[in-house]
């Protein structure tokens, strides 16, 4: 008998929230904290011809400026393709080029204006469908399409889809565009890095994944246990060595986040705050403005999804082909993983014996997209569920019946051949009908996930 599980106990940190006692990153007060501001690219694609920080560095109130030359390992991410600060090639509008730490916001903003920046603008590509084409402007040296096992798409192949199309009574096709969507948590991106005597750094972070980012930050800082003296720390640019050590040198403090929704799964401010804290020897806080957060933070990249279904007169979907194109923006972030998850499960909660999914992760000169609540499945759900109603429409069937007819049952398997054992699609639909006041016909009411398909 459960005494606590299943009970409506009050929120563990509820009392701290309702009294305002909960401390978010921006609420941490460390005396002497410097304000960080970044110089961002005004163009979507270009080459930096000249970057001159000498005048800015002499401005009153400026404690330190960093550029790409100050970043020990200037490539990070799950696929380490993203620079902390651009050294030469600008790949999106808003990409950070330099960052200033100053005594206050005014001093930081004035210093930014004194940075000499000469950019040779280049032809950008913003449309993923254009970017896929031969001869499109190159977004990144690794190519405009993410590669998987020698293919420029991630594929799922189950059964024989072509044969299913031959056997079908009807073929239903549709194309859908799911737009770019911003997480918009109420707490914007913020990081506070505090250096300590000896090789120690405390980073207050909005991260949703402390350990993930701890490893990544140590990779960027190239910290080795006990061997780094912050103040004499030297830049080692161009190093390919990525073994992440230095956990003893960094403590990541977080765990209480003002909303995330996937928007805080990538390092966005911690690296710059940390580098400036180490360079200046003072606490540095980088709080993004809401405009920066909307314009330059990660988001749910747009999807272009085409579905072609082989359907019988009885409403069974016997084959499904999906071609999905993800606008990833300029860097990998978590995009390849988002596309993989889309491919695994994008065909939806239905037993379709023949499935072919091709998911393309296409790079464009936009800020990097990344994870967002639903991780590749949300846009798939939109496309496939509207498609289900189109099938119903074509066959003159009830939308409930099409779904219940095709819904997964126990023992059936997903397109990646995972056999399912905790299945409740039919029951969840039946409950929905009851709650919505929809009277289902008897044969649909009698269905159950545990019944074998007839």
């Amino acid at each position: 008998m459960s005494k606590v599980i299943g009970q409506r106990v009050t929120r563990y940190d509820g009392m701290s929230h309702v009294t305002g006692e909960t401390k978010f990153v921006d609420d941490q007060v460390v005396p002497g904290t410097l304000t960080v501001k970044a110089l961002r690219s005004p163009v979507s694609k270009g080459k930096i011809k000249n970057l001159d920080i000498s005048a800015a560095a002499k401005m009153p109130g400026v404690a330190g400026i960093i550029t790409a030359a100050d970043v020990p390992c200037n490539a990070f991410g799950l696929v380490p393709d993203q620079p902390v600060l651009v050294s030469e090639d600008i790949r999106y509008r808003g990409e950070a080029i330099a960052a200033v730490a100053a005594v206050d916001e005014d001093a930081a903003m004035e210093a930014l204006e004194k940075i000499g920046l000469d950019i040779q603008e280049q032809q950008a590509v913003l449309d993923p469908l254009e970017s896929m084409k031969e001869g499109a402007p190159q977004v990144r040296p690794e190519g405009n399409l993410q590669m998987w096992d020698g293919h420029d798409y991630r594929q799922v192949n189950l059964g024989d889809v072509d044969q299913a199309f031959e056997q079908a009574d009807e073929i239903v096709e549709s194309t859908h565009l799911h737009p770019s969507v911003e997480h918009a948590p109420m707490e914007p991106i913020c990081s506070l890095a505090v250096p300590h005597a000896g090789p120690k750094l405390t980073v207050y972070t909005v991260s949703q994944a402390l350990y993930f980012h701890l490893g990544m930050l140590c990779g960027i800082l190239q910290m080795e246990p006990g061997s780094v003296q912050c103040k004499q720390w030297k830049a080692k640019t161009g190093s390919a060595w990525r073994h992440n050590t230095g956990y003893a040198d960094v403590n990541y403090i977080g765990g209480t986040v003002g909303g995330g929704f996937g928007g805080k799964n990538d390092i966005m401010a911690d690296h710059v705050a940390a580098l400036l804290a180490l360079k200046t020897g003072r606490p540095c806080k980088w709080r993004w403005t809401r405009a920066e957060d909307l314009l330059y933070s990660t988001f749910r990249g747009a999807w272009h999804i085409t579905i072609k279904d082989a359907v019988t007169k009885q409403g069974r979907i016997i084959g499904r082909q999906m071609t999905s194109i993800r606008d990833a923006g300029a860097y990998a972030s978590l995009n390849p993983y988002v596309v993989e998850k889309h491919c695994y499960l994008g065909a939806g909660p239905y037993f379709i014996p023949n499935v072919r999914v091709r998911g393309y992760c296409v790079y464009t000169n936009k800020p990097p997209a990344s994870s967002m609540r639903g991780f590749g499945i949300t846009p798939a759900a939109f496309a496939t569920e509207v498609q289900l109603d189109k099938i119903a429409d074509r066959l003159g069937m009830d939308p409930w019946e099409v779904r219940l007819t095709n819904a997964f049952r126990k023992g059936e398997y997903t397109p990646t051949k995972r056999v399912l054992n905790s299945v409740a699609m039919i029951e969840v639909l039946q409950n929905l009908a009851a709650k919505a006041g929809v009277e289902l016909p008897g044969h649909l009411k009698a269905m159950a996930s545990t019944q074998e398909r007839g």
Partner: protein, 155 residues
């Protein structure tokens, strides 16, 4: 710099401010009162909401010098040691708070409503909170919390 004198949560304070300093900056950066949050700094989200002479304002777009001699109440100001406000109790018991970032502003916006309308309808609560954004809750349990607090305060 100019000298600003104001009352915050019942206590008189004197701070030096510039011409463009906001009330939110005074509260957070000078008085270290951190319940009003920096959510947008453009007056769109309501996480910086405070009461100014009892009226709900967005402190991020309120010029500090415009509150000379006035009285400001933040969430800290309605919390008595060991005796929280019925709205705080209701938000806690009815799960009106998830991540907690919008909560201080949300509770103050609710207080501004209940101070003038002790028996609001559900729609009136929606109207009163329409300038305070929350991305976690879908507002359902926030509205439930306000209505529960109104009931509690009447009895």
């Amino acid at each position: 710099m100019h000298t600003l004198e104001l009352t915050v949560n019942g206590q008189t304070c004197r701070v030096e401010v510039g011409l463009k300093t906001t009330l939110l900056e005074v509260l957070r950066d000078k008085l270290y009162i951190t319940s009003p949050k920096v959510g947008c700094n453009t007056g769109d989200c309501g996480t910086c909401s405070v009461l100014l002479d009892g009226v709900l304002v967005r402190s991020c777009i309120t010029n500090a010098l415009s509150v000379q001699g006035k009285s400001v109440t933040t969430l800290e100001g309605i919390t008595e040691p060991g005796d929280i406000h019925p709205l705080q109790k209701a938000f806690h018991e009815h799960y009106g708070s998830q991540c907690g970032f919008c909560t201080p502003g949300m509770i103050l916006a609710s207080k501004a409503l209940l101070d003038v309308n002790p028996s609001p309808t559900r729609d009136e609560v929606k109207q009163a909170l329409s300038g305070n954004l929350c991305r976690c809750t879908g507002y359902v349990k926030i509205i439930d919390s306000v209505l529960a607090a109104a009931d509690e305060m009447k009895s």
